[in-house]
């Protein structure tokens, strides 16, 4: 039996056009031996949920810098639940104010990582928190 590979997806919901951070994360996860799907910029919640479903991912990393995280992250979490994908580990990244974090966690986001987080921290978090 081949080893079960961790499949991660890095997605950029909404309208901001900055994906340098997302690409660095994608590259780091690749180097950690994961298969990383990158969806590119300006994805709607529906597109992200649909890609997550078809790619059968274990981890979803959402990067956002536009400030629309409350709306978009919540819509994505709802979509995942509707598609029977609630087991996916979802991590938020980008610029997210502290006061918004409790609500996002309430919606099902497992953790958020802000600017300056080392890629090792994120990789370790994924490996520790994936359902076995």
């Amino acid at each position: 039996m081949a080893e079960k590979k961790i499949r991660a997806m890095v997605a950029k919901p909404g309208l901001d056009g900055h994906d340098r951070g997302a690409k660095i994360i994608a590259r780091a996860l690749r180097d950690a031996g994961m298969e990383v799907i990158y969806t590119g910029l300006r994805q709607t919640p529906e597109q992200i949920v649909n890609a997550a479903l078809q790619e059968d991912i274990d981890v979803l990393l959402l990067s956002i810098l536009s400030g629309a995280h409350n709306h978009l992250f919540t819509a994505i979490m709802k979509g995942l639940q509707e598609k029977d994908m609630a087991q996916v580990l979802v991590i938020g990244g980008g610029v997210i104010p502290q006061e918004d974090i409790p609500n996002l966690k309430q919606a099902g986001i497992s953790e958020t990582f802000g600017p300056g987080t080392s890629t090792e921290t994120i990789i370790a978090y994924i490996k520790d928190n994936l359902p076995s």
Binding site: M1, A32, E35, E55, M85
Partner: protein
Amino acid sequence: MELIQEALKGSERAIARLITMVENEMPSWRETMRTIYAHTGKAYLLGFTGPTGSGKSTLVDRVAHLLCTNGYSVGIVAIDPSSPFTGGALLGDRIRMREVVTHENVFIRSLGTRGGLGGLSQATSDVIKILDAAGKEFILIETIGIGQDEVEIAQIADTSIVVSVPGLGDDIQTIKAGIMEIGEIFVVNKADREGADHVVTMIKAMLDVHPLSDAWQQPVIKTVATENGGVDELYENIMLHRKYLLKSDLLAVKRKERIGREITRLLERRIAQYVHNQMKEIGSLEDLVEEVTRRETDPYSCVDRLLPLVEKK
């Protein structure tokens, strides 16, 4: 198994999970494929291959979009390389697939090569079968960006499309062995760039000297995939080739050859796994390496010595 039944009915979640199961060779994956196999053979398979950055993903996106518009249900299998060092992969083909994701009835799956060397991954043909059984009428397979001899796609696809772009080299490139021999349709993408006509001429000249043995005249089509230029013509030629294969019965011939190769491939794989396991039991590879390093024996004799041990009694 319930998952298979749901996948056969077209459930995306079930299809996705079956693919994961088969790709990771999880327990009972062979039984799964046996059950699936009875439902395959209906989909038409299009292979897209060509160098890195030639625009394969964008072309796949545009052709898939046209197929959807014409009412077909479509599957896409997009392959990107896995790192031989970490096993990780960056699967980025979805970035270019922007048109087609707006349609329902399209299932896109990205695969890492996981050690496959021919431009595809080991599991590619199984993934295709799952999509076929799930009712996808056309399945588009996009290879990794290839060099010269990754021709495995031609053994898997019904129609092989070789994508080229201007600026890659002189006319010697078109007479080399390898990928230029497998194209049933040639595409010169990014045809708004300088040198496109020259590439078309070179490919046509090559085809004049080395036509396929049958009656199909391989077309050379100029496209600008990002602007949708030439995509209609490509679509029409795909349909023409399909009609040609069906009418001449060559499709059946191709598919029979594919089945033969598949049985051989599966057998070789099982034997390789068996030998690998037996070797572990014998467990003396390091000793042999030492002996060979000291030049007391040689690798060829080692194989002679090992063979009786791994052969089934």
